[in-house]
Subunit: 404 residues, 3 copies
Amino acid sequence: MVKRNLLILILLLPCSLFAGSTQMNSSSAASRDDNFSSTRGGLEIVSSDGEFSATLGGRLLLDAAYYDEDKNSLGNGTELRSARLEMEGRIYADIIYELSVDFADGDADMKDAWLAYDAYHPWRFTLGHFKEPFSLEELTSRKHLTFMERALPNALVPGRNMGLGLHWYGEQISVAAGLFGDDYNDDSDDEGDEGWGGSTRLTYAPLATDRSVVHFGVSASHRKLDDEEEYRVDSRPESHLTDIHYLDTGKIKQSRTLTLVGLESAWVYGEASLQGEWIASNLERDDAADIEFSGWYIQASWFPTGESRHYKSQQARFGRVNPLSEQGALELALRYSTLDLNDQDVEGGSSDQLAFAVNWYYKPQLRFMMNYIVVNNDRYADADGDVENEDEPNILQLRAQLDF
Amino acid sequence: MVKRNLLILILLLPCSLFAGSTQMNSSSAASRDDNFSSTRGGLEIVSSDGEFSATLGGRLLLDAAYYDEDKNSLGNGTELRSARLEMEGRIYADIIYELSVDFADGDADMKDAWLAYDAYHPWRFTLGHFKEPFSLEELTSRKHLTFMERALPNALVPGRNMGLGLHWYGEQISVAAGLFGDDYNDDSDDEGDEGWGGSTRLTYAPLATDRSVVHFGVSASHRKLDDEEEYRVDSRPESHLTDIHYLDTGKIKQSRTLTLVGLESAWVYGEASLQGEWIASNLERDDAADIEFSGWYIQASWFPTGESRHYKSQQARFGRVNPLSEQGALELALRYSTLDLNDQDVEGGSSDQLAFAVNWYYKPQLRFMMNYIVVNNDRYADADGDVENEDEPNILQLRAQLDF
Amino acid sequence: MVKRNLLILILLLPCSLFAGSTQMNSSSAASRDDNFSSTRGGLEIVSSDGEFSATLGGRLLLDAAYYDEDKNSLGNGTELRSARLEMEGRIYADIIYELSVDFADGDADMKDAWLAYDAYHPWRFTLGHFKEPFSLEELTSRKHLTFMERALPNALVPGRNMGLGLHWYGEQISVAAGLFGDDYNDDSDDEGDEGWGGSTRLTYAPLATDRSVVHFGVSASHRKLDDEEEYRVDSRPESHLTDIHYLDTGKIKQSRTLTLVGLESAWVYGEASLQGEWIASNLERDDAADIEFSGWYIQASWFPTGESRHYKSQQARFGRVNPLSEQGALELALRYSTLDLNDQDVEGGSSDQLAFAVNWYYKPQLRFMMNYIVVNNDRYADADGDVENEDEPNILQLRAQLDF
């Protein structure tokens, strides 16, 4: 379905757009700050000479889950989903940086750790550990997701890796591309060379006002796997508290290269919004047929209290919702998602899940979330043999989220 | 000794007090800030719009210990007892939060991680990871303890867990209650449901001036253990540097519910103070007799330099000592504590320890501590069989403590 | 070569210098701030009463390495070499402190964690976790090293431990000495007593202007090993991304005491500089001959763009390079280093490496580094038997470094 020379295309894409870009960027300079610290408002420290600044931030996500269990015990309880400290700022006029660490699992997990050259606006060159440009939902911060967890197809998405990236945006178009090594938390590559790959994302938003957005995007990624040549995808149900990953391909041996494509679209009409993505992967193996996985989701949300989802056009992703009244904003949402990890000799399982959400944004920085999820697993969804299959639990989960 | 329906009582207690509370709270509004950031003085950052604030804090506890050994080697040496970064603040008028991480063991351990709704003073509703309201010594910050380590009976106390809590205080009375899941650092509940329980603490301070305090308190806690149904209590001697936990019940199987009660009292007369607690636990098992453990301590302290222990009446616990002179404050203290973990078929050991302390508070934020401890173990105190029993070492330990 | 009573000498050294010190210190008071926060400029927070301050800092080191392999696979790839958050400041007039944590390995590693009494300038008394005073290259921050990694002989150097230290400096002389327990991240001493030892460093800089420096130094260290009585030295090639430690003595049993001596010198003539060190160790064992290891390095650097290496005379080490022009500073450097871990019955291997560096300091806080290293291993350099010996790879490695 997708070919190996896509990598060359990925790298050429931003360059080919460069020619036509210079006449577009004047209008976007006004909203420059939005690109960086917009809604933070923030706890900023500036050096006496004005050359440096740092803005401190944090996030605290407190979860509880109740599993209406079918065949397996998923483990009701509570969880600190995320506790993060962040420091981002500017060094002289042209360098920006971010350091963020998550302490949720009893250790320290560096998330964003990058510096960027930001002098030739709207171009930005980034170096470090950051998210590969792939998928609208992945690039939207967990703080601003409509549902508590990302949809099932997100299991295919590359996420954060060490690398370098280029980002450009115009009035309606944004392009991001990057070359990436492995994640630095990946210890599996001690013996041999790390893998590496490239990702790119192109978005087009013919309409992007405060309350009306039409957004389309396409992502592509190609990766040479590391010298261990093992590939594995697994996924929990759309709930993080349980440790059961129903979908699990196990280690697929002799895996050489992975190619991904993604299509995305989002629509905002005042209080209502629609969003959907389709993601497919192709895994090339030695002496065996290619393996193809795919998944998609579609979600609708509505604010009875009159707010709109906030679209950040420069990064082409969603941001913070600001409640209109003292009582806060109420959001209702529905999502259907599906992921199929069965292909050829691989029986990773397939699942589709229907999720219903009620979110109450009491303040821009404080919201409460409730998700109810109906899980529908196929007979291969047995966590690589660790649990009973054809398990179909329902999930009720709650979150309190503070971020600043 | 204590019954299971105590849990209902725990939850009703704060409600039953609500009726009589409203006429008391006017006088306490003046000292409101004491509740939150009092003696910090602090490194505060405020956003440009004044809506957020964060105060940065830290603590550094440097220990050394010399063990006058009897039968076992306890391991003389040095230790970073605590190295903590803290961020606490206010979001808009009514939300306060705290995030604190300890880095002492080479990893990152989230301590307080909570947010609280603080609009209806003197009521406060808290959500997150914080200490269950149980025991005066547990709730007093390690920074402000008279001795380097808490007394032996503290091994029975629940400590920090994920949950929600309600706190109220009047002129002489404070009430705190909460419902809690397990600690998020507890990995033992992966397979089954987490345990959960409730705790409450009621205090009465008929006298609480700057230099005279009479304080009484009662705590109760009831917990359904997690699906593994194992309960274990262990305790080092009152010294953290050694890894030997003389007292250790091992895993007590088929444990279902745990009930705790605690009584506490503290008296401050100018330079002198007395403090004591008694804590008892009752463990219900399947097909076996209940097991009861208990312990108590009493301590006296005296400031030859004229200072007083600082009682924070809103939280009903002790706080920071402020030296009167440039030379700092000197405190002498003596404590006797005992804990008995032998009952029925469980031979966890019993110990009593006599501790002598000299503390020099050079600055409010900097103190030096010396403890000398005489350990008296019974013949079951063998660290669940790992060390020789009837070991009776003496301990000399030192600490330098910086906190701000 | 070096004797055990060196320890007494180490402790007497600073005292013997005390007599002659008082008449020297007036001239150095002017540059006092240089001792602490000089080039930081920094993100400082001060309390409202002016009694406390904290300066926030951070560092981000992003590496990539390509190994031109010979016999073993070293693992090409990328790495987050360091991601550190730092907090340092002043409490009242006379106490300074520092807390720094590194998050690079997916956990949290406390680095500097100390407090110091700084009232009797130029004397300073320090307590906590900090670097033992030994070796110019060790004491120079990684942020300000000319090469990406320290030279091979650094494997012998003690590094950070828990302890107390005394530091004094005069117009041309500095003396530092300390007593240290073990590192708190060292878990190997659980069973028995920790080791402890003393280190001292004496430097003499007859010339120390902005662009001309002549520096000499001698360090000595003596340590009683912990109760496990095992000593091990190992060393990667001068590249951190690979996990192969070619040089590795394995655990040397029945090791009792370790004595180290080091000689160092550095010369700066405008744009050019020379620096070299020789370090030797002597390990005393029970019932076996002493073992002696040694190594040395020499390096030259040159700034074609006209800058000088910055010598901080109070701490007698190198600091931050400030580029003269908007285009930044360019530095070329060459280093030869060698370390021999073969002696008696120990075959730890011997290696010499030639490294060439190009550094571009775009801003004082941002630099890019490229190292090319030619590795020359002897036949014992087989990572204690884990890899093929006589391996002679070449290494190309890159770094982007942000620190503030």
